[in-house]
Symmetry: D2
């Protein structure tokens, strides 16, 4: 059985794990106040081309999302998300549990548009009963999206401008950010993101760490007291240096981007195998997640040797599924899958 | 200016107010433990044909909804509602503020169907990641709906059976319940509702009281400690007898139903005036709210003398609006409006 | 049975009720946007000597407290209160239910001191782990306190200065504010309170209204979007004019102060009866609540004809109880009680 | 600089880390549904002598506490804790952020007694206004306590019986449980704890793991849907096997107890050094935390070479501090400290 159902089936990239091994007996400060966290934060600031940002390390994506969103919003405010957004569907109501509504908009290939956001603001402002409705205050986007698509620079700029014009904050969930940054055709980089977003996170868990996400807060007014709220949400890791060490490994030699490129390349091979068989895709993905639509009979046969995520029935005899690659995916594994797909 | 934009523009029905006047100097127990609250509760139990229900008096609809929903659900559970449901749109995220997601389904004329509810349960059960999603546990329906439609007995029975089969609770928002119970063609009464729902409220504010809603809890397991949660949500009125007195006035001579019938009749006159002019309706309403689609030019003219609620643009030159009647609406007022409509 | 256990056993002061009767058939705007609410707000601004304050009308004390506190605090912040503070003990965790800790300090006769508040701030600042602790951000005081004592102007000024020096907000629960303002020896008035506090409320329920509290927000940064949060907490009354009308009645001829003076005077008679018998008091109260310590045998006898609130056992054979007076308390009732006390 | 300020200054015990290294390239199920988590859970069930318990793995102590407490309580219920309890003071209001009050009682050497708990229940039951107060429903104890003391079997039995008699749940925070179980004079073991508590956790972070706590739920009614709530609170680790692997390493050869014994022995050496100098202790601790009271002058000198946690000033010239040992503390380190203490 070779697993393609997600990008976190293995442990950590060896170079990341090695950092943890090498420093295991060192004594350091705790709760993220150690020198490794500091160094990793500095590196990330460099990569973002800005020193005036705050970097915090948290353990997982849901934790990061709920901590940020509850830190940013007042009680009557909500967060706009695409219907496919992770916070909308796959976090067991984590945002609502902190008291806030997720204002759901239909995504297009998983993405929101500036126009949609403006329309929400206009509608809210126009309604005479707007005090009876949740006030939109934060926009949540994922890049890449949960279904593998990527925001272009112009899309992102338009969203950012719309947010600023309407006094909304913009937050990017970067659980798989690296895959977007290294995707074919991508024209966005970390400095651009740090410029256009008020906060975003650089995901580690799905890009080769044991666990861990690096949150970047760009907007001054969102910075104060953030560590208090981390602690309250259980997000201040006692041995915080583990997070610093892993992000140090990821960024000191650009391992983060190497991992992303490798996984994207592996995904491309799967995509091509599907294309050769004439299969369609649920969505044109350029990142490490591919969503081909396959005959159920073929899927049944593949299931003997490969794991994948079921996505949705597309007709009586076909389904969309997800194949996912990672730092750990080998050419051999992908070739086996590709050949199995091509045999049909 | 004659107001038709809602059914709470005036004070209280004179017979209700009289009860408050008559008892003003009496000293009673507080927080709803007085004899008037007890009598009103007994009356309501009689009207529901059951003694094994709990009756609580709260001040308003949003307060009642948020208190019930937060009392019923565990942290990971959510409440299913139509997209037009009051809790979905017009309570500033009150439900989310207690930690729970509103799971929104598209309504048909404001109503949910048993089939939709079953589909949500099936989908949740089937999803391998259901622990990552909010668990549906409560169904919220409004009767009449926010747009004036009424559930039939068979619709309600089907919903109730679906809920019980799937271990969901069923809660009915009866902010305007009287208007449904007295609507032409309605085949549901209080005993039926008490039998099919696990909790529901009999709205007072929109049926002639100064304020106040009577919550009925029918399901045994939802009863314990409810007054604690009322107090926590600020819903335990110090001079609680005011609520008991008003519901006593409403139910001791069936004033509740007289009020509803009167308002429905007045609304019917408005409906007929619109029909005579050939206007269409956003929805076929049999209760005290009517949603005709009128030319914007006509609406502009009407606005000099009458208030109404704007609902939505239906095309370039027409809009749907709401006309609402109440205990206080007089034949003269309605005739004036009808004649203004007919003059166009 | 004559009730002395609280100051909300009756309905409303007749002049307040009359306002409701007189306007019963008028049609007005809803949700507090009517002209009566506007007039009442203007009157209260005049009484406070300031036009730059916001006035909102809510239904009850717990509701007001939880709405204000949740509007003011960020998630990691808490509210300092005396151990006898209403929010500490008698609101079923209403503040915690909005996510915030009540930081409890021992009160002296129910009061906090500036020194205690400063000490909390110093301790928090000094602690190297302060990010692991709730950040004090709001001070809650009651005036009069829950046990009838009154803050002097110098006490209040010291607290206010301490709060401002430490970036804390100061909020006064004025459930019985009138009784403090009219107490013998009091040197504080509404303009002083509006100057020293960031928010406070003028209680109606315990001073003669059917229900209702007038919240005053003095600090600019606490004003935005407050009505959204009211709606979310179920605190935006549909027929909001009922609140405006009642506060209009209370303030247009200073009825509020007349009521307070009368009740204080009545309480004084009870106090004197106790003193004549040589009874001690749990606390020296100058307001409408008196807490004499009486022999249990006497209390048992009194209970046949009078209701009072049990407070606490003080020794084997004595207990502290509360006698409470109101607008509705008559000289005759008090004389009967006084004579029963003196007969022992 | 040798660090003694806490027991989580280093990475993981080498045998724990080795498990992670050895399995790094294996592909497994995610979110704790892998075979390592299953094996670790089985081992823990064996150690507890019961198969009918649920075992869940979470990342940290605050996270575990807030997840359990919010899963167990209804909105109006609170958790009883000693004033020194971690949830009372050092989790930035994490429990309150989930909506629940911590009902604080004065601890004796950090411990609660059965009598105190019974008194709270009696007082609540007796109060006529108990619906206005938070209902006690859960008792939180730490073993060892935050200041190193240990519950005896008879103390624990009495607390457990009191809880069951009063329908309270009992939850033990075992962040440092191993140190208690291996303490000199301890007469409690895992089967006893599993029998007397309704839920408890076996702490890993402070006993040699990189991170991770093993929660044991013993009471049937607390089990349903727990993983939903874990996900909601951000406590479902994507690469969940990391937790299973670490607890496998801890329990397959009783490494957990070896670690605890070693750290307790090292602490004993520090204790003896202090005793030889005649220093007193804030509390008589038999576990890996020691709280001697030292002259400030000595402390200042020690600070050049050793880190410790400041606890509190005890008089003008003395302070209580904490020295903490762990799996990583060596005899050499302790001897250096002991000799520095003895030199004074």
């Amino acid at each position: 059985m070779i697993r393609f159902e997600c990008d976190y089936s293995e442990g950590a990239h060896p170079r990341i794990l090695q950092k943890i091994i090498d420093t295991n007996f060192e004594q350091t400060q705790t709760y993220g106040e150690d020198s490794y966290c500091q160094k990793a934060a500095l590196l990330i600031k460099d990569k973002c081309g800005r020193q005036d940002i705050d970097v915090h390390f948290l353990s997982g994506g849901t934790q990061t999302n709920l901590t940020v969103i509850s830190a940013v919003l007042r009680p009557h405010q909500g967060v706009i998300s695409a219907d496919s957004g992770h916070i909308s569907v796959h976090e067991t109501g984590a945002v609502e549990a902190t008291g806030h509504k997720v204002l759901i908009l239909p995504g297009t290939n998983g993405k929101l548009t500036a126009g949609q956001i403006q329309a929400v603001c206009d509608e809210h402002a126009r309604d005479v009963n707007h005090e009876h409705m949740v006030q939109p205050k934060l926009v949540y986007i994922s890049n890449p999206t949960e279904i593998g698509s990527v925001y272009s620079r112009s899309e992102l700029s338009a969203i950012s401008e719309t947010c600023r014009r309407n006094q909304l904050f913009l937050y990017m969930d970067g659980a798989r950010l690296g895959y977007a940054l290294c995707a074919h055709g991508n024209d966005v980089d970390l400095p651009v993101i740090a410029d256009l977003c008020d906060a975003f996170y650089i995901g580690g868990t799905k890009l080769g760490t044991l666990f861990g996400e690096a949150l970047v807060i760009c907007r001054q007014e969102l910075k104060p007291d953030f560590r208090y709220i981390m602690k309250q949400k259980g997000a201040l890791l006692a041995k915080g240096r583990l997070l610093g060490l892993q992000f140090l490994a990821l960024f000191e030699d650009d391992l983060y981007f190497d991992i992303a490129r490798h996984a994207n390349d592996m995904a491309q091979l799967i995509k091509e195998a599907c294309e050769r068989k004439g299969y369609h895709f649920m969505i044109p993905s350029v990142t490490n997640q591919q969503f081909p639509i396959l005959p159920d009979a073929v899927l049944l046969r593949l299931a003997d040797d490969f794991s994948y995520s079921f996505w949705e029935k597309t007709d009586e005899t076909h389904s969309a599924v997800r194949f996912c690659t990672s730092w750990a995916t080998t050419q051999e594994q992908v070739k086996e899958l590709a050949s199995a797909i091509e045999q049909g």
